[in-house]
């Protein structure tokens, strides 16, 4: 089963070199133990564009769809047999990137 682990951030500027090193170590472990699916860091929310093509003509709006103090700074998609394993991995991930994270299951099938 797959889980999305979202990294919640309220600071500007990307991770420090210590945090990057800890994230790399954590990622290696995810790969080695078969939990790795995908992961990535995101550019700041101000670089986002919202697109609405429900009306026939695509409308582009500058900025994120939601303005908030906290935003999605990156994510992991992991494989885990159940929520306990996912939570334990997410706790490691939170420590590695030094930020709060949210765990959310993907819909099955």
């Amino acid at each position: 089963m797959q889980y999305l682990v979202s990294v919640i951030d309220d600071r500007t500027g990307s991770a420090t070199s210590d945090e990057m090193a800890a994230i790399d170590t954590f990622n290696d472990r995810l790969v080695a133990e078969g939990h790795w699916v995908f992961a990535g860091g995101l550019a700041s929310p101000s670089s986002a564009t919202v697109i609405d093509n429900r009306g026939g003509e695509a409308l582009f709006t500058d900025g994120p769809f939601l303005e908030s103090k906290e935003y999605l700074a990156g994510f992991w998609v992991i494989n885990a047999p159940d929520l306990d394993v996912a939570l334990a991995l997410a706790a490691e991930g939170s420590k590695a990137c030094n930020r709060r994270v949210e765990v959310r299951p993907f819909l099955e099938e």
Binding site: M1, Y3, P81, D82, L83, D84, A86, L87, V103, R104, P105, L107, E108
Partner: protein, 405 residues
């Protein structure tokens, strides 16, 4: 007829959790387990008065509930999905090492009290799935509308399914933390029964304290080696023992020092003391519930309030403060200190808690009492006013109002 009713009540108390837990394991779905168990008991209510009580009511209920579950799965035409699902869940449950606790009810309790669920959801789900209370009963217990309570339980069950909360007893490394999550939920149920927080209910609700004790007994039977489980059960028993002496005929809360100790339940006290002695003999450093139980054992050992060994109570609170340096523990310690070293020392000790506990009625009630003893009447009245304003329990408000004068 009376015998049949009695048998049904007994079966409900003794077998509900077992039936739900076995179904949850077999079908991998709490929803189906809950509904099929409820249907099986409804069938018992219909059939037993006609056919007689079966020789093994538990087995009859499990078999009947199993059939109801299969009927429902067929009805919903989700048979293939659910069977595959059941198969998956069954495979996921790792084989227990020899000697490990193997009881579906324990799996059910840990699933209902999973740390990924909000505390209010854990409490509601545990009362429904393990305690067998109906949704309207739980809604009344927590002064929540039936629809809202039903939704709370449904949402919790959906999260368990969607996020795949595992149906198993946690690993040994995780067990202490997970047990403490279960104990917190049971203690919350007990406390709501012992000192109801709302103005719309009876000040003490024996139905809730009894249910909490029943669940704590079950947990104790399943985890007999766990000191904190024994501690919480002892704490509940020693508190429950004083229940009838706790509210006067006129509906006023009676503080510990003024209770008629002859009205205390000596059987519950004896059972509580046995558990506390058992923990002392174990020689393992006690957790918070064991210390709280020991404090209550000291109180219930004194035939007269003047015989209370206050130095022992303060020593136990010192031990608790080291484990849990929270302001509420410090407040309760100060109440014992007042008896040992006088109200002035106690007042100085709680002076530091003002920032943290300004919104807590017991803080102001304690301050008021200490100020009154020191003859500072005007300040005492102001503190009583604040306590009355913040208190929710009706019997306690009556007591504080009289005390204010």
């Amino acid at each position: 007829m009376a015998g049949v009713r009695e048998a049904i009540t007994q079966a409900h108390q003794g077998e509900w959790a077992r039936v739900v837990a076995a179904l949850a394991r077999r079908f991998g779905d709490l929803d189906i387990a809950e509904e099929a168990a409820a249907e099986a008991f409804a069938t018992a209510v219909e059939r037993w008065p006609v056919d007689g009580v079966p020789p093994n009511p538990g087995a009859w209920l499990t078999t009947t509930a199993g059939r109801k579950a299969i009927d429902r799965i067929r009805r919903e035409n989700k048979r293939d999905d659910k069977q595959r699902e059941a198969q998956r869940l069954y495979e996921d449950v790792p084989p227990e090492p020899p000697g490990a606790i193997d009881d579906d009810r324990l799996r059910l309790i840990f699933t209902c009290c999973h740390p990924a669920l909000a505390m209010e959801a854990r409490v509601a789900l545990t009362l429904r799935m393990v305690g067998g209370l109906t949704v309207p009963e739980i809604a009344r217990a927590f002064l929540v509308g039936e629809a809202a309570m039903g939704q709370r339980i449904t949402r919790a069950k959906s999260k368990i399914e969607a996020a795949r909360v595992p149906y198993r007893v946690p690993s040994e490394a995780d067990l202490p933390a997970r047990v403490s999550g279960v104990l917190a939920a049971l203690f919350l149920v007990f406390n709501e029964g012992y000192l109801a927080t709302g103005p719309g209910t009876d000040p003490v609700r024996p139905g809730l304290t009894a249910e909490a004790i029943r669940l704590a007994r079950l947990l104790r039977a399943l985890l007999p080696w766990d000191g904190e489980v024994a501690g919480l059960l002892a704490l509940m028993l020693l508190t429950e023992a004083r229940r009838t002496a706790r509210v006067s005929a006129s509906g006023e809360l009676v503080p510990l020092g003024e209770q008629d100790r002859g009205a205390w339940d000596s059987a519950l006290i004896a059972e509580g003391h046995r558990l506390v002695r058992e923990r002392l003999a174990a020689g393992v450093a006690p957790g918070r519930y064991q210390i709280l139980a020991a404090i209550n054992a000291v109180h219930t050992s004194a035939r007269d309030v003047r015989d209370t060994d206050w130095s022992q109570v303060v020593a136990l609170y010192d031990q608790l403060v080291r484990l849990d340096p929270s302001p509420i523990v410090a407040l309760n310690r100060a109440i014992a200190v007042a008896e040992l070293d006088g109200p002035e020392v106690a007042l100085a000790a709680i002076g530091r808690l003002d920032d943290a506990l300004a919104g807590y009625h017991a803080y102001h009630a304690t301050r008021a009492e200490l100020l009154r003893r020191l003859g500072r009447g005007q300040e005492a009245r102001t503190a009583y006013d604040k306590a009355i304003e913040l208190a929710g329990n009706t019997a306690e408000i009556v007591y504080l109002t009289r005390r204010r004068g």
